[in-house]
Each structure stands twice: as structure tokens, then as C-alpha cells.
């Protein structure tokens, strides 16, 4: 008879490759024993693997006995490319690493560069950074809940999550000109001050979110199917988290109140009043609830940042050897260099023109050395290790992406569980492959 599945004989025994078809046909094949070891390849193109993540699962019936993840499908060489641009240009690459938390990627890199330059960023720039980061945390957690919901079949969770995220992205576009990958945070401060009427727009957003976030409690938290799919699933207790270097909501769901905004404050976070939600269930449900609670806390921080922004001030360091020379403004053809600045460098001051030209083409030099800065990203500790050789380009930039590190916990969470729970566990880690693979 013809074989239902093609096979190859290897030193490990006969290996069948099955790609769809009827299982009963396969069982009729006399070469195929009923107790075959079955390895399922899930992804990298699969709607439930949270991005281009490939899972290799060894299964026994519906139970996963061994699981491994394969990454690298979204590796774009961001770290290497950054070494061929100036310190300021590198921001445009790094912001694309973890594409759901661009403000964090930018901030952590700029803070590392500023540490090497030994400069202090103006207070107003710090506050704007906090505002952008907390807004990004909200939009990132919304996607985590939305895609997590979709992967578990809660499609309304997906549509609701993306609807609210749209609000967040609209606000981001209003602040920076771009919805994602803004490159708005630059070494030395931020690209420009917030546009007029930012207060009203932010307040509108806060009001909308305060009204809509409680809906998630009705939609998901109190919903029996959601609870059954997530409660007691994908458990990773504290000792496991510590061993595997897990940070962020996954660690806090295991009971450790470790949040860098509180434990090692940066950007003036010590001035803000907010709580760090901690639960002890160490399961997917608690991770979901922590993300939800963190969004409420982020709204609180945004509100406080808004109040602090009443005080005017510069948004870029005074040092003209570092600060980006142009000031942007909106013209009839969109955003560009302000006419005033162009008039000055083209018509009045030759020195300014040279200065502008030098900074934009050559960039500023950073003294040799290395620095490591960590911030609390939506997924955990986002670190940036920057090495300078003393030149106008980074010698080495490394992003310690929390998604990359946390994804290592996948086997510990899913082995021994059902395949369907594997999907829930991966969603609760919330890896963003752009950051994992960089």
C-alpha cells in the first residue's frame, strides 16, 4: 500500500513527516505504530503563538511532555545596524526592537548614552519621558490582553483591546507625530515640547480610559470561561522566576514586588505616587489581572505628570554640542525644520550653519566607556548596555529585552499541561518577537 506519510530512516529510528491529512489514514499504515513519539511543530506562522514564534512540542495525547521554543525569525540586526549610525540616529533603529514599547527602548538607550556623556536631562524632558512611557505601557498591556484574549478565543477581548489601544496611539500621534517608532526621545532630552492643547487631549484620554478599563473586569476578569482558561494555568512559582531571571508582571504574579520604578527609581519616578500590583497566584489569570491593574496605575502617573508639566522649561540639554540643533514646527507641507531656524542658519549666522551641519552629519562624540541602564518596561527589566569607543557612533549597543529572557520560562510553564494551555502560558509571558529577536 502507499504510505500515508513520507518517512526517513535515521539513526534515531524512522521519522514520519505528517503535514495535515486524516489521522485514521495514518493509523492504517502498517509502518506506523500507535505509540509513536509525536512532535508537533507549532508556528512560526501560527495565529496562537503570539508572533513569529515557533514552538516544538512533544505530545502524548493532548498533554505536552516537552516543549522548546525556536526564535530568530524576526532577527533584523538592529544592534549591529546601530553601530553604523550616529548616536542620535541609532534611536530610530532601537525604537523598532520591541515594537509595542517604543518609548521604553528609546528612553533606556538615551539614558545609557546620557550616562556615558555624564549629562543631566532637563526636568521637563524627564516628565515628558515618563508621560510617554506610561502611555506606552498602557498600549502595550492592551495588546497583551487583546492578543492573549484572541489566542484563547475571547475575540471581544481582542476587539476591545485594540479599540482602546487605538485611543492610546492617537494620543501618541498627537504628542510625537507618529503612532509607533516615534524616535521622539533623543540623547539629551526629547525632540520637541508637547504641542498646544496637550492638557485637554491627555485629560480626554484619561477620562475615556477610566470609563472603559472597568469594562475589562466585566468582559474578562469575572467571566467563567476566561477564568477556567487561565486560573491555575502556566504556573511558575517565585523560585522558578528567580532562577530564570524573570521580571515584570510574570515575577509580580508570583508575589515579589520588584518594579524598577520603585526599587531603583529613574526619570524622577520617586516623585510619583502609584502602587505596584502584586499577586501570588503565579498563573496566567494573575498575570492578566496585574496588567489590568498596572494600566490603572499608569493612568494615575500620567495624571501626575500632566500636573508637573505646568512648569515650563527646556526639553533638551543646554549643551549646544549635544542638543539637536533644529526646532521642528508644523508647516503647510507637514512637520519639518522651523522656518525661524532655517532663516537663522541660512541668512544670519554662518557659525550656526556649520554647527548644524556638523551635528547632523557627523554627530557628537561620546567619551569611551560603557554603561548599563535598566528601566521597568511593560514586560520587565529592559536593559541597555552601551559601549563607546570615543567616537560619534556607538561601538556596541545591546538591548536586554525582557521578552527574550522571559520566554525561557515557556518550557517550565507548559510541560505537563495541555496544548491549549500552552497557548495561554505563552500569551501570559507576552513576548514581543521584535524585541526577542532584535
Amino acid at each position: 500500500m502507499t504510505h500515508a506519510a513520507p518517512y526517513t530512516d535515521t539513526t534515531e529510528g524512522r521519522i514520519f513527516t505528517v503535514t495535515g491529512g486524516d489521522w485514521d489514514d495514518l493509523l492504517r499504515d502498517e509502518n506506523f505504530a500507535e505509540d509513536e513519539r509525536i512532535i508537533v511543530n507549532m508556528g512560526p506562522q501560527h495565529p496562537s503563538t503570539h508572533g513569529v514564534l515557533r514552538l516544538i512540542l512533544e505530545i502524548e495525547g493532548e498533554t505536552v511532555t516537552q516543549a522548546r521554543s525556536v526564535i530568530g525569525y524576526l532577527h533584523t540586526g538592529i544592534e549591529k545596524s546601530s553601530e553604523f549610525r550616529t548616536w542620535t540616529q541609532a534611536v530610530t533603529f532601537l525604537t523598532r526592537a520591541d515594537y509595542l514599547s517604543p518609548a521604553f527602548n528609546e528612553a533606556v538607550y538615551c539614558m545609557a548614552v546620557e550616562k556615558l556623556l555624564d549629562i543631566e536631562v532637563p526636568r521637563r524632558a524627564q516628565i515628558i519621558r515618563v508621560l510617554l512611557m506610561e502611555l506606552t505601557r498602557i498600549s502595550s498591556h492592551l495588546v497583551a490582553i487583546a492578543t492573549g484574549g484572541m489566542e484563547l478565543g475571547a475575540l471581544t477581548g481582542m476587539t476591545a483591546g485594540f479599540r482602546e489601544r487605538e485611543e492610546a496611539l492617537h494620543l501618541m500621534e498627537f504628542y510625537t507625530g507618529l503612532r509607533m517608532n516615534m524616535a521622539f526621545i533623543r540623547p539629551g532630552g526629547v525632540a520637541q515640547d508637547l504641542p498646544p492643547h496637550y492638557k485637554e487631549r491627555t485629560q480626554q484620554f484619561l477620562d475615556v480610559m477610566r470609563e472603559r478599563l472597568p469594562e475589562y473586569d466585566k468582559l474578562l476578569t469575572g467571566q467563567p470561561i476566561w477564568q477556567k482558561r487561565t486560573e491555575g494555568i502556566g504556573i511558575l512559582p517565585l523560585e522558578g522566576c528567580m532562577q530564570l531571571g524573570i521580571t515584570g508582571p510574570v515575577l509580580r504574579s508570583a508575589g515579589l514586588p520588584w518594579d524598577l520604578r520603585k526599587t531603583e527609581p529613574y526619570c524622577g519616578y520617586e516623585e510619583y505616587e502609584f502602587d505596584v500590583p502584586v499577586l501570588t497566584g503565579a498563573d496566567c489569570f494573575d498575570r492578566f489581572r496585574i496588567r489590568l491593574a498596572e494600566m490603572h496605575e499608569s493612568l494615575k502617573i500620567m495624571e501626575q505628570a500632566l500636573a508637573k508639566l505646568d512648569e515650563p522649561g527646556p526639553v533638551m540639554v543646554e549643551d549646544k554640542k549635544i542638543a539637536w540643533p533644529a526646532q521642528l514646527s508644523i508647516g503647510p507641507d507637514g512637520m519639518g525644520n522651523s522656518l525661524e531656524h532655517v532663516r537663522k542658519i541660512m541668512g544670519q549666522s554662518m557659525e550656526s550653519l556649520i554647527h548644524h551641519f556638523k551635528l547632523v552629519t557627523e554627530g557628537f562624540a561620546v567619551p569611551p566607556g560603557q554603561a548599563y541602564v535598566a528601566v521597568e518596561g511593560p514586560r520587565g527589566e529592559l536593559g541597555c548596555h552601551v559601549v563607546s569607543g570615543g567616537g560619534t557612533r556607538p561601538w556596541r549597543v545591546h538591548l536586554r529585552d525582557p521578552g527574550f529572557v522571559n520566554l525561557q520560562a515557556m518550557p517550565a510553564m507548559v510541560e505537563g499541561g495541555m496544548i491549549a494551555d500552552c497557548v495561554a502560558a505563552v500569551a501570559s509571558i507576552d513576548p514581543v518577537m521584535g524585541g526577542v529577536d532584535r
Partner: protein
């Protein structure tokens, strides 16, 4: 071409050099020296050893480390240089002692660096002795402190002990450093490529590995790929 150093172990007391000597400026070599900057020579850079006091909690950490090394019989030369710069402390560690040092900083109650935040490779480029560095950023959640350990190895002998046994989280970090820099972590359970395909040749983030890219046309002019554009450093 720089002479390739083969199998000559440098004395560990030598400062870990992190740069080569550079000549001229603006990277222009195709025309005469009209700027007058062509004669500039800049010496190679090395991190400067720091004398006590280090400031902040660094002194306490260094004291506790010295005491613990004494107790555990780790020779004092295991740390061959200490540098404090940019509010961070770096201990340059000899690779022979790395594993026991990691056990020590993780387990000693006065140190307790329980989280290996990041392990990254750095390549300081051709011509630099012990050009490949493996950099360990360790965090003490108990004491809320951070230190950096750094190990430098020769590119011809890129072996160093794996940290997976001490910090299981080091698994993927080390696989990435192997994948990108060719650092070989002895004792790693499965040191395979992680970001690049399994059959990839070469180590993409080494400095002598080209970035790649093609020239593109923009408004009639041809723009060379990024790694062929003029550099100013």
C-alpha cells in the same frame, strides 16, 4: 593588516585594552591632507583602574568580595582590575576563576547578586589583545545593587566557563553571545545558534563581519551602503 596573535596568553595584570591606535581624522584617505588633521595620532584606550575609595556602595561590595574570596580560597588576582566609571563598578575577572566568582557573588549573604540581568558580548575589533569580552550585569535584589563582571578572551581561544549552572537564565544570553560573537561557553547544556539559522557561517556582530547592504539611488545620486559611508571616528 594587523598581525594576528596566536596563542600568546597576555599577562592577566595587563589592563583590558578596548581600542586601537587611530591616525588622522574624518576617515578621508583618498586625497591629500588638506585639513592638517591627517597627522593626528590617538593612542588606544584602556579603562583606567580606580583607586579607593570607589564611592557609594561600591567599597562595601568590594570589601565583601575580597573577604569572601579569601574565605573561599579564590586568589586575589582573580580580579585583575577594578574600574569605577559613570556611576558603575566593573570587576575584570580572569576566566579561570569566573565560575567560582559567580557562585560567590550569588550565594554570599552580604553580596546576593541573585539576578543575572544581562550577559552580552562585546568585540573590540581586530588588533586589540583579548578583543572578545563577555560582560555580566548582575543585580542584587536583596541589596538593590548592581555590579558588572567582565571577562576578556582571545579571538583564537574564545573559551570561557558557562554561567548556566549558577544562573539558569544565562542559557539564552550565552547562546546569543555565542551566535553573535563566537564566544564559547564551556559547560553550557546546548550552545547552539539562537537568532541566526543553525547552518549560518561566521559571527555577525564581530567587527570584521560586514554589515552588508547595497548602494541605493536617491534623487539621482548613488548612496553607498551604511558600512561604506564616511566615518568620522
Amino acid at each position: 593588516m594587523e598581525p594576528v596573535r596566536v596563542g600568546v596568553p597576555l599577562p592577566l595584570t595587563a589592563a583590558p585594552q578596548t581600542g586601537t591606535e587611530q591616525h588622522g581624522m574624518f576617515g578621508a584617505h583618498d586625497s591629500g591632507d588638506t585639513s592638517g588633521f591627517g597627522g593626528l595620532v590617538r593612542g588606544p584606550y584602556s579603562p583606567v583602574p580606580t583607586e579607593r575609595p570607589y564611592g557609594g556602595y561600591f567599597d562595601e561590595v568590594a570589601d565583601e568580595m575580597a573577604a569572601a574570596m579569601d574565605r573561599r580560597g579564590i586568589p586575589a588576582v582573580a580580579i585583575y582590575q577594578t574600574t569605577v566609571a559613570h556611576r558603575e563598578i566593573t570587576f575584570y575577572v580572569a576566566r579561570e576563576h569566573l565560575r567560582e566568582m559567580l557562585w560567590m557573588v550569588r550565594d554570599e549573604p552580604a553580596l546576593r547578586f541573585e539576578l543575572a540581568s544581562s550577559i552580552s558580548g562585546v568585540d573590540y575589533g581586530a588588533g586589540v589583545p583579548r578583543r572578545l569580552h563577555s560582560v555580566y550585569h548582575l543585580t542584587s535584589m536583596t541589596w538593590r545593587r548592581r555590579i558588572r563582571l567582565e571577562v576578556a578572551v582571545e579571538v583564537n581561544d574564545p573559551h570561557l566557563p558557562s554561567a548556566v549552572e549558577v544562573y539558569p537564565t544565562a542559557d539564552w544570553h550565552e547562546r546569543e553571545a555565542y551566535d553573535m560573537f563566537g564566544l564559547i561557553y564551556d559547560g553550557h547544556p546546548a550552545l547552539t545558534r539562537i537568532l541566526m539559522p543553525d547552518d549560518w557561517e561566521g559571527f555577525p556582530q564581530r567587527k570584521d563581519y560586514p554589515l552588508g547592504g547595497i548602494p541605493v539611488e536617491y534623487k539621482g545620486a548613488e548612496i553607498p551602503p551604511p558600512d561604506e559611508r564616511r566615518t568620522y571616528t
